[in-house]
C-alpha cells in the first residue's frame, strides 16, 4: 500500500493532450498562488505595525494597476478557453471510421454489446490503435461511464443515447468507474476496460463471450418476431414507412421538420412512435416500450442500419 501513484496512467490518444493542458493550468495556478503568497507575506512582514519601513506613496487606488490585473488574467483565461475548446471538440466528434460498441447501464452494472454479437458485463474489451465509439443508454437512473486512464467521461442517461469516443494507445487493464451517483451500490458499479493488441482482440472476439450471432442478425430475428415487417415493407403502402436505406437519410415529419435517421431517431420511433410521425402516414404504431429490452432495441437499430436502399430509389 505504500507505493501509490500520484499521476494517473495515460493510455489514450487524448490523454496526453489533456495532461498538457492540465499541467499548463497547474503552472498558471502555481504562478498566481506564488504571486499572492509573496505579496501577502512580504507586505505583512515589511509593513507590520511599528516597522520602520517607509509608507510614503501608499495608494488607495491606481487604475493602470487594476486594469493590468483585470486584463492579464482575462487574456490568460481566454487562451485557456480556446485551447480547451479545441480539445473538447476533438473529444466530442468521433472519427467516421470509429468502431461502435453499445453500452447499457443499470443499477449497478454495465452491459456491453459488440456489433459482432459478443456481450460482456462490467468489462469492455477493445483493440488498441482504433477509435472506439460508445453508444450508451441507461435503463433506470443516470450513470456516467468514466475511464480515468483515457481521460474520458460521459453521463449515461435513461431515455436517450449519449456517445463518447476514445482510442487506446497501450494494451492493459484500466479502471472503469460509474461517476454519477446512482444509488446504494454506486461505488460497486465499476469494471475494467481491457485494451488488447488487434490480433489478440480478434482472438478474444472468437472466444468465450462469442454468441455467434451478430447484433444485426439478432435484430433481423426480432424484426420478424414482433411483426415489424407487417407494416414496414416496400409494399405495405400507407400503413407504415419502408425502412430500406433509411439509415442516415433525412426524414420528413408530419410537423414539417426533418430529422436524420440515426440511433436516437430509430430508438425513439420504436419506444415512443407518437413523438415523431413521418409525413404522409398516420400514427398507428403502438409503443414497444414494455416489450423490448434496451439490448433488443440496440439489435433492431443495428439491423435497420444494414437494410440496403431498394434499387431505383
Amino acid at each position: 500500500m505504500w507505493s501509490f501513484p500520484l499521476l494517473p496512467e495515460s493510455a489514450s490518444t487524448i490523454a496526453d493532450k489533456i495532461d498538457a493542458l492540465f499541467y499548463f493550468l497547474v503552472a498558471v495556478s502555481l504562478f498566481f498562488s506564488l504571486v499572492i503568497t509573496i505579496g501577502l507575506v512580504f507586505s505583512a512582514a515589511r509593513y507590520r505595525k511599528g516597522s520602520p519601513a517607509s509608507r510614503k506613496g501608499a495608494l488607495n487606488d491606481y487604475l493602470p494597476l487594476e486594469l493590468a490585473w483585470s486584463l492579464i488574467p482575462l487574456t490568460i483565461a481566454l487562451f485557456i478557453f480556446g485551447w480547451s475548446a479545441k480539445l473538447y471538440l476533438d473529444m466530442r466528434v468521433p472519427p467516421a471510421n470509429a468502431m461502435e460498441v453499445y453500452v447499457v447501464g443499470k443499477q449497478w452494472m454495465w452491459k456491453i454489446q459488440h456489433p459482432e454479437g459478443n456481450r460482456e458485463i462490467n468489462e469492455l474489451h477493445i483493440p488498441v490503435g482504433r477509435p472506439i465509439k460508445l453508444i450508451m443508454t441507461s435503463q433506470d437512473v443516470i450513470h456516467s461511464f468514466y475511464i480515468p486512464a483515457f481521460r474520458v467521461k460521459q453521463d449515461v442517461l435513461p431515455g436517450r443515447y449519449t456517445t463518447q469516443w476514445f482510442e487506446a494507445t497501450k494494451p492493459g487493464e484500466y479502471h472503469l468507474f460509474c461517476a454519477e451517483y446512482c444509488g446504494t451500490s454506486h461505488s460497486g458499479m465499476i469494471g475494467k476496460v481491457i485494451a488488447l493488441e488487434p490480433a489478440e482482440y480478434e482472438q478474444w472476439l472468437m472466444g468465450t463471450s462469442r454468441t455467434g450471432v451478430a447484433m444485426a442478425s439478432s435484430g433481423a430475428e426480432l424484426f420478424d418476431r414482433y411483426g415489424c415487417r407487417t407494416c414496414h415493407r416496400q409494399d405495405t403502402g400507407p400503413r407504415g414507412p419502408a425502412l430500406d436505406g433509411l439509415w442516415g437519410k433525412a426524414v420528413k415529419l408530419a410537423t414539417g421538420q426533418t430529422v436524420i435517421a440515426d440511433q436516437e431517431y430509430i430508438r425513439e420511433s420504436i419506444l415512443n412512435p407518437a413523438a415523431k410521425t413521418v409525413a404522409g402516414y398516420q400514427q398507428l404504431m403502438p409503443s414497444y416500450r414494455n416489450q423490448l429490452t434496451h439490448e433488443q432495441v440496440n439489435q433492431l437499430i443495428e439491423y435497420i442500419r444494414t437494410l440496403p436502399p431498394v434499387r431505383g430509389q
Binding site: 410537423t255 415512443n272 412512435p273 407518437a274 413523438a275 400514427q283
Partner: protein
Amino acid sequence: MAHNPESTAAHAHHFVDMEQQRETSTLGMWAFLVTEIMFFGGLFVSYALYRSMYPEAFGAASLRLNLVLGAINTGVLICSSLTMVLAVRSAQLGHVKALVRYLLATIVLGSTFLVIKAFEYTHKFHEHLIPGTSFRFGGPHEQHAEIFFSLYFMMTGLHALHMIIGIGVLLVLLYQSWKGRFSAEYYSPIDVAGLYWHFVDIVWIYLFPLLYLISRD
C-alpha cells in the same frame, strides 16, 4: 407586507418618517414580486420545453380544458384588478367608505374566480384528467398529455394558492379599513396589497392563452 399595529397615523419606530416607511414597503413588495416572477418562471420554462417536445400532445390536451369557464374567469380577474385600483385610489383620497366597498368587491370577484376554478377541477376529476394512477386520456398521447395536465394543475394550482393568500390579506385589510385604520396619510398596506393582486392577475393573463388557447383556431 408591513402593516404596523401602532401606526394609524404615526410611522413605526425604526423609520424616519411616513414617506420613508411607504417607500420601503413598496420596494420590499417589488423585491418580493421579482421572486414571484422567478417562481412562476421555473414553471413557464418547463412548460415551454415540454410543449416544444410534445406539441401535438399539448394541443390535444389543451382542447379538453373548458374554454368558456376559462374566459369567464379571465374577465372576472380583470374586473377584480379594476376594483383593486379603485380601492387604492379611494385610500389615497381618504374615502374610507369607498375603500371598504371596493375591497369587498375585489374579494367577491376573487372568490368567484376560485369557485369557478373549483368547478373546473371537479370536472377534470370526473373526466379522469387528474395526473396519477387514475389518469385516462386515451389515444397515442396519453403519457404526454399527462405532463400537460401535471403542468396545468401545478400552474393553476399555484396561481389559485396565490389568490387564496391574496383574498386572506384583503380580508384583513377590509377589517382594518372598516375600523378606520387607513387614511390619506397612511394607506401603504392597501397600496402594497394592490401590487400583489395585480401581479397575480397578470400571471393568469399569461396562463390563460398558454393553457386554454394554444390549439384553438
